[in-house]
Symmetry: C2
Subunit: 192 residues, 2 copies
DNA sequence: ACGAATCCATACGGGTGAGTATGGGGCGCG
DNA sequence: CGCGCCCCATACTCACCCGTATGGATTCGT
């Protein structure tokens, strides 16, 4: 430990700033995304930041774009590999339930829905995911109107769960309670 | 129109500030709760505010307390009058669905779950409402474990719906689509 | 090796919003 | 009538944070 407590050093790239921004958003919310605080975190000063980005909002936009692109590629990409449509929904539920880490940014963005830059991103992501659920429910045998409503209900339950248990940390479910809840959700929402 | 465009005048009381604060929270979120902005809204200056309240946080706390107390008295009080437990849940769903106005503060508070003063309030409110749903589901015939999980699922769906359709304004449901969604929710979540 | 491009530090200006100090005006009450 | 208390205006200070200006340091191309 010859220099700082943050072992990062040497030159930075725009990607470094964007990833650090996403980390900051996940930890302390969009409102805490300040350039001087980020610079401290990275062991540099504002002088560095304003070389890579035109403004604070430009960084936020870049970070959101990166997050959205990553989310589409990772979350939905894996699921579409599951061939059997009947197994797709339960498997989706179980996988999503056990990857809590990637949802931290999503939960933080849910709390920043007043910010103009956040709204269109969340609108696109929510729309795509709901449509994905809708086709999955149709493949599972629901008629179109029911599939649409069930998709909306499912995604609302997902978002609400994030808010209540993740952000609020409300009932602090242990592992068994959590699994029990997920299986109950599968039994209730997915048609037999 | 001899004076201001805001027809409020004469001396103010602490209650006036708290109600104006809740209005501001509902309209522009907790972050927009600034004392100078509120003072402008009420047609006075900061000098007035700091006579009634010690700080900005004191106002926020008072407003939250008022909202929590009002919510318990109004929302849950009406529902408990419904005698038949079988009719209680569908009736609850339909009533809650058609009173969107009282939910605006709740939706705004959902976006302020990083604020230390907001978290305990939301934790208490969510806990009470989930427990209310749990007993209602038990009265409707579910076994205890299922009643608990179904209550959590229902409340999560409620919270997520607020976030997606209220705050985000996503699919912009019209009246028929909205009713269709509510009835689908009743058919899916409430045991026959 | 040496100039040029890249990356960063230092220092400053400006805007915003919380909190304080202090005095003045309205209103009840004797 | 005039005295005192309640309510509010004015005018500050202070802290924070965005953005700019400019020069220094490091690295890369050739």
């Amino acid at each position: 430990m010859d220099s700082n407590h943050k072992p990062e050093r040497t030159r930075l790239t725009a990607e470094n700033w964007e990833l650090a921004a996403l980390q900051m958003i996940a930890d302390h919310g969009v409102g805490a995304l300040a350039v001087e605080a980020l610079a401290r975190e990275l062991g540099v000063t504002k002088g560095s930041f304003y070389w890579h980005f035109r403004s604070r909002e430009a960084l936020l936009q870049a970070a959101l774009d990166r997050w959205e692109e990553y989310g589409e590629r990772e979350v939905l990409g894996q699921i579409e590999k599951i061939a059997d449509p009947r197994q797709r929904l339960p498997e989706l539920f179980r996988r999503v339930a056990h990857e809590l880490q990637p949802h931290r940014v999503y939960a933080a963005l849910l709390k920043a829905l007043d910010h103009p830059l956040v709204v269109p991103v969340m609108a696109r992501v929510s729309k795509r995911r709901t449509e994905f659920l809708e086709t999955a429910y149709r493949e599972a045998g629901l008629v179109p109107r029911e599939a649409l409503n069930r998709a909306r209900l499912t995604y609302a339950a997902y978002v609400g769960f994030l808010q209540l248990n993740f952000t609020l940390g409300l009932p602090r479910l242990n592992h068994d309670e959590f699994d029990s809840y997920i299986e109950h959700m599968i039994a209730t929402l997915i048609p037999a």
